[in-house]
């Protein structure tokens, strides 16, 4: 049997990329059918198949790395570049929504009453729940770093405790934001204020949920002994993503919540 004479990973043939593309087709056309024809069957199919593809694709990556040993240092380097490029692209995604916010708020039109916040909008007090949420995410940044140090020092119990705490803080943030959304005196339909507020904070909230899910998967893998003290890139990627989510919140807080109120 021939062995490879290089340190890269030539993956087994896999159906997930094409099934993922099909899932994206179903989800997008599902949105159209839902918006215009009041039918959510296609959208449901799309979201379920998207979930199935993600679960199996990432499951296979865990198998290839932890169980089959394909993630050499060379492969890991590529994964690091990949994650950094992905997070950079997400930063640009949010940049667009910040641009929209500043476009509308730096020169408020007469239709808004020539002021920001627009006439009639009662913004949320940045010193109340939003400040608490800032403290929660900052604390979760500390706990995820504690978890990382515990992993590199081989301390299993502390690592599990710290990562669990990080995830709980993430859930607490999400719960508080959900409550804020429910109680807010303005809605997404309330002029460009509502649009910029809810789209920017809404996408951020989605990323908090994604980040919390990623961390939860890492917690399961941590408990199941997948990580070693010097090879735990899955956890590092989750921690990078979590810090990114925290930084986006800090920008949101300073611009939309504080300066914008």
């Amino acid at each position: 049997m021939a062995h490879q004479a290089h340190s890269y990973h030539m993956v087994d043939p896999s159906p997930w990329p094409i099934f993922g593309a099909a899932a994206a087709l179903l989800t997008t056309s599902g949105l159209i059918m839902w918006f215009h024809y009041n039918s959510s069957m296609l959208l449901t199919l799309g979201l379920i198949s998207m979930l199935l593809v993600m679960l199996q694709w990432w499951r296979d990556i865990v198998r290839e790395s932890t169980f089959q040993g394909h993630h050499t240092p060379t492969v890991q380097k590529g994964l690091r570049y990949g994650m950094i490029l992905f997070i950079t692209s997400e930063a640009f995604f949010f940049l667009g929504f910040f641009w929209a916010f500043f476009h509308s708020s730096l020169a408020p039109t007469p239709e808004l009453g020539g002021q920001w916040p627009p006439t009639g909008i009662k913004p949320l007090n940045p010193m109340e729940v939003p400040l608490l949420n800032t403290a929660i995410l900052l604390a979760s940044g500390v706990t995820v770093t504690w978890a990382h140090h515990s992993i590199t020092e081989g301390n299993r119990k502390h690592a599990i405790h710290a990562l669990t705490l990080t995830i709980l803080l993430g859930f607490y943030f999400t719960a508080l934001q959900a409550m804020e959304y429910h109680e807010a005196p303005f809605s997404i339909a309330d002029s460009v204020y509502g649009s910029t507020f809810f789209v920017a904070t809404g996408f951020h909230g989605l990323h908090v949920i994604i980040g919390s899910s990623f961390l939860t998967v890492c917690l399961f893998r941590l408990i199941k002994f997948h990580f070693t003290s010097d090879h735990h890139f899955g956890f590092e990627a989750a921690a990078w993503y979590w810090h990114f989510v925290d930084v986006i919140w800090l920008f949101l807080y300073m611009t939309i919540y504080w300066w914008g109120s």
């Binding site: 340190s7 043939p13 159906p15 379920i48 199996q56 169980f67 040993g69 992993i151 081989g154």
Partner: protein, 96 residues
């Protein structure tokens, strides 16, 4: 060779709780915090030279999930193409 891992791990990866060459069965009770290390057993399963691709390596549960995903995506794609064809028809008949 630089960077290559052996086909079957000759050493289990440095166990996360820092012990050196202990086997799972040798662990003192305090180290079995939340379960035993089953990674070496799983490594044996997934490194069997049976020619199966990684997404089907575990046999029946993998095949079931794969076939379900395939059914949903391929069936969904056909349904999607039909729905898009109907949606692209002129609006004098409202198709359900």
């Amino acid at each position: 060779m630089q960077g290559l891992k052996p086909i079957v791990s000759t050493e289990s990866p440095a166990l996360i709780f820092g012990t050196t060459t202990k086997l799972a069965s040798d662990l003192p009770a305090t180290d079995s915090f939340l379960g035993k290390n089953k990674v070496p057993d799983l490594q044996k399963i997934f490194q069997k030279a049976d020619g199966l691709p990684v997404h089907l390596k575990r046999g029946v549960p993998d095949r079931l999930l794969y076939r379900t995903t395939m059914a949903l995506t391929i069936g969904g794609t056909i349904y999607c193409l039909v729905a898009l064809y109907m949606a692209s028809q002129p609006r004098n008949q409202k198709s359900v």
